[in-house]
């Protein structure tokens, strides 16, 4: 489990991450997104339709015990992670769309996440001591909106400060995961060694299947290649640190330890799998961007 100091530290880092997310936003980005709302709507559908269901499905099919099942479902219900923005940036995706999906899903999370967790936990038969109280989740999410708004104001006031905060926020998303590796993995290596293969499969598969399904769903509703790649990354990359924070605020002791396993494993492996996917997407995007530069204006 995490010490109280570590939990506090995690909370502070989440605040900075959300500050960075806010700094990546402009009012214009919102307006452009709502001119073509389809992308954001598809994103929401992926985020709160596909992912929670995928978490639930994997938990049931693999027959996970309640502690692990609730961790996986929680992970599936999370809004988009801010690290998806940095991966989208490096994959030359539609950054505005990624940022917009992360922000909109984080806003909507206040309502969706508590409801989805309750719904799928019940469906999977997780009850009693392992159930996560909806109020807890909602509270955490509301508190995180404050730094987001401050970030937006910073961005407007000074682009240099805004871009710096944005970068620090995104980097911190990766740093939190490193922090988990350093603080959690050494103390729990025996647990990891005794963890059966299907738990790893669930934790890694949630991200990879999410990306795959996100891509094909966006292509199916006629999003272009670049937007589909962006939605794909956004869908697969969940807000891992937020899940860890919610778990540490809800459970203690041995129970915390068990529920944490899937979110931590997910967070560790999503960095690897999304890095690989990013490199691949980037090479595709470079080719297309150059072609688009040269594309001529359609003549009537």
């Amino acid at each position: 489990m995490l010490t109280p100091l570590e939990t506090t530290l995690l909370g502070i880092m989440m605040m900075v991450i959300m500050l960075g997310m806010g700094a990546s936003l402009t009012f214009r980005d919102f307006l452009i997104a709502f001119k073509k709302p389809r992308g954001v709507l598809v994103g929401l559908l992926c985020q709160f339709g596909i992912m929670p269901f995928l978490g639930y499905l994997l938990a049931v099919v693999l027959g996970l015990p309640p502690a692990l099942a609730v961790g996986l479902i929680l992970m599936g219900c999370m809004p988009g992670g801010t690290t998806s923005n940095i991966f989208t940036y490096f994959s030359k995706g539609v950054l505005a769309l990624s940022i917009m999906m992360t922000s909109v899903s984080t806003l909507c999370a206040v309502v969706f996440v508590p409801a989805l967790i309750a719904f799928y936990s019940k469906l999977a038969g997780v009850t009693g001591e392992f159930a996560i109280p909806a109020a807890n989740v909602a509270q955490v999410l509301v508190v995180l909106l404050v730094p987001t708004v401050i970030g937006m104001v910073l961005r407007k006031a000074n682009p240099n400060v805004g871009a710096t905060v944005e970068l620090i926020g995104s980097m911190l998303g990766i740093f939190v995961i490193l922090f988990l590796i350093v603080s959690w993995v050494p103390r729990n290596y025996q647990l990891l060694l005794s963890t059966p293969w299907y738990v790893f499969f669930a934790a890694i598969g949630l991200g990879l299947f999410g990306m795959l399904l996100g891509y094909f769903l966006s292509r199916a509703v006629r999003q272009d290649l670049n937007r589909s790649r962006t939605i794909s990354l956004e869908t697969g990359i969940q807000n891992g640190p937020l899940a860890v924070l919610i778990v540490t605020l809800t459970f203690t002791g041995e129970m915390q330890q068990q529920v944490l396993l899937v979110p931590v494993l997910y967070s560790l492996f999503i960095v690897l799998s999304s890095s690989a996917v990013t490199v691949w997407y980037r090479s595709m995007a470079t080719r297309e961007a150059l072609a688009r530069d040269a594309a001529k204006v359609a003549t009537a």
Binding site: G162, A163, T164, A289, L290, A294
Partner: protein, 585 residues
């Protein structure tokens, strides 16, 4: 006066000047460019002169006062630390950034000669340019420092100065930009060991400041002695013949062209202009239009180091009140393919200026409907510093026209036999005016080919209408002679561009045993076009638009076409390919 040319020498275009453009060219305001910079920095000291914006929105700025101090320091560094004399050449190989104006203006203040060099040049191209110009100091962007080892030992260069893209940014953004360049994009090569001193720009400026302290006011003595007739820059141009040669552009040439451009635009310029500089400053178009003209009126230049992909311009356009944009067809086209641009076109924009290559009428029309402002197309060439004609911003702008000659400029159209071309008939465009170059550097023979009887022969074929508006037909050297008929490649290319399946096309001549020459089209398929594009389909399309002898005999498909840094298609490269191909037969 030669009365045969009265149709041109009567300057029918003066009527189109209206009340807003001066009929005659006012005398130059400055004795030389050093004075121009000095005076602008005094008049606008507290205003922002330059802001460089990288793609994530990070930026750095220089006020006119800072520009004055830094360019003084660089001038002192050149004259004292590098021991240069007036007239010595300084090669500058920088992308757009805060270092560029500091260095270029430092060169003018030192009374030295600027040699603009494309940062993307290969080692052999650099070597040709540095040895031909005899450059003694090289200022180069650190991203390409790896080329120094192959170049500097074989040149006369005695000092190398390195500048960063984020030069003069605030500390933290500078650290982040350089960190990203080094770690993520890996574009900062190690600096090779050289026999000559290699300094960072910041160190060179510090050295210059220290050296100048001993004699206050010493920098002014450098440029006060510079005559208007002295060469200010050696501007290299490929021309159409291959080997690149330098046009000697004098202080008077530049000062005249600045006045000419401002005469055309002044009615639309206030005291708080903000110009987007996405085109490279080492190119004559942005060098004069953006750098010199807008500094003279105290404007703010928004410098973008790399405009490709065009998304790189987003933060620059969003965060600053852009009033002017200069660009080429491909840039305007690229912007209009971006969602963020079409949703929020710059709302303070007054006009856009197009040059470098023909502006397609479809692009101009769409620009007008999206931004609500005009794209005014002009025509120029390196040898004319560069502007010759421009479309007036008030009154009549004619589509596909390069506009009317700028004040103080004589333009004639002549036929091959030296006779004037009748109004409406094509002839080679020749220019007389204070902006025409002093000649090619060390190439009297080449100079004699283009400068005859006080006129500069541009090699471009144009027609003039009754109102004095000109339209470029084509490059004279690119004409294809099919059975004695002149085929202008532009005309065939325009016809090809109308085919939706074709992205772009270039037309050159190929040897033909029966007709002497035949037309060949190099074609790039439009990626949006689904299905196969065949040579037969291309030829069938041309048949619906062109007379028989203009129709391509051969169609070659390519993934891309060779282009210059500003996006002009290089027909000469294609012609060279044709030559090798047919020599082998």
């Amino acid at each position: 006066m030669d009365t045969r040319f009265s149709a041109y020498d009567n300057k029918p275009w003066l009527a189109a000047y209206g009340s807003s453009i001066s009929q005659t060219l006012p005398p130059a305001r400055h004795p030389n460019l050093g004075h121009l910079v000095h005076s602008a920095c005094q008049r606008f000291a507290e205003q922002t002169a330059f802001t460089c914006v990288v793609p994530n929105g990070m930026n750095g700025s220089l006020s006119y006062r800072q520009l004055a101090d830094a360019s003084d320091a660089f001038a002192a560094y050149l004259r004292i630390d590098c021991k240069l004399e007036a007239g010595d050449r300084v090669a500058v190989q920088l992308p757009n950034g805060l270092a560029y104006p500091v260095v270029a203006f430092g060169v003018f203040k030192a009374g030295c000669v600027l040699v603009n060099t494309n940062p993307l040049y290969t080692a052999s191209e650099m070597l040709h340019q540095f040895n031909d110009s005899g450059a003694k100091v090289l200022v180069i962007v650190d991203m390409f420092a790896d080329k120094l080892a192959a170049v500097v030992p074989q040149s006369k260069i005695t000092h190398v100065v390195l500048a960063a893209v984020s030069e003069m940014f605030p500390a933290l953004p500078n650290l982040i930009v350089r960190g990203v360049q080094k770690v993520w994009s890996k574009v900062l090569p190690p600096i090779p060991a050289l026999a000559v001193p290699v300094l960072r720009l910041s160190a060179a400026l510090a050295a210059g400041t220290a050296s100048a302290k001993a004699t206050p006011g010493v920098v002014q003595t450098y440029w006060r002695g510079v005559a208007a007739s002295d060469v200010a820059a050696l501007q290299y141009t490929g021309g159409t013949t291959g080997v690149s040669k330098a046009a000697m552009l004098t202080h008077a040439n530049f000062l005249a062209n600045i006045e000419q451009v401002l005469a055309m635009g002044r009615s639309h310029m206030g005291s708080n202009e903000c110009v987007l500089t996405a085109l490279p400053l080492y190119h004559i178009f942005a060098f004069v239009a953006n750098l010199l003209c807008f500094v003279e009126i105290g404007a703010r230049n928004i410098l973008v180091p790399s405009p490709r992909p065009v998304q790189n311009l987003q933060r620059a356009i969003e965060n600053y009140p852009i009033t002017w944009i200069t660009g080429v067809n491909t840039l305007f086209n690229g912007l209009m393919n971006e969602e963020w641009f079409t949703a929020f076109p710059p709302k303070h924009l007054k006009a856009a200026i197009a040059g470098g290559t023909a502006l397609h009428s479809a692009v101009a029309a769409r620009w007008q409907s999206i931004t609500g402002t005009r794209v005014a197309e002009g025509f120029g060439l390196t040898e004319c510093s560069p502007v010759v004609t421009f479309n007036p911003l008030s009154g009549v702008a004619k589509p596909d026209s390069i506009g009317i000659p700028v004040p103080g400029t004589g333009v004639r159209l002549v036929q091959d036999d030296g006779q004037p071309a009748a109004v409406g008939e094509p002839g080679e465009l020749i220019v007389q005016g204070p902006q025409t170059m002093a000649g090619y550097w060390n190439r009297a023979d080449e100079t004699a080919i283009v400068q005859k009887d006080g006129w500069l022969y541009t090699g471009d074929v144009a027609v003039m209408d009754a109102q004095g508006y000109f339209r470029i037909v084509d490059r004279k050297k690119d004409l294809v002679l099919v059975s004695g008929f002149n085929v202008y490649p532009n005309e065939v290319e325009d016809a090809l561009a109308k085919m939706g399946a074709i992205l772009e096309a270039a037309v050159v001549g190929i040897p033909d045993p029966r007709s002497g020459e035949g037309v060949r089209a190099y074609v790039v398929k439009n990626p949006d076009f689904e299905g196969e594009l065949t040579a037969a389909a291309v030829i069938a399309h041309c048949k619906s638009l062109l007379t028989d002898y203009k129709i391509p005999k051969s169609v070659v498909f390519r993934a891309e076409l060779p282009k210059t840094p500003v996006g002009k298609i290089l027909r000469k490269d294609l012609k060279a390919e044709v030559k090798t191909e047919f020599a082998a037969r």
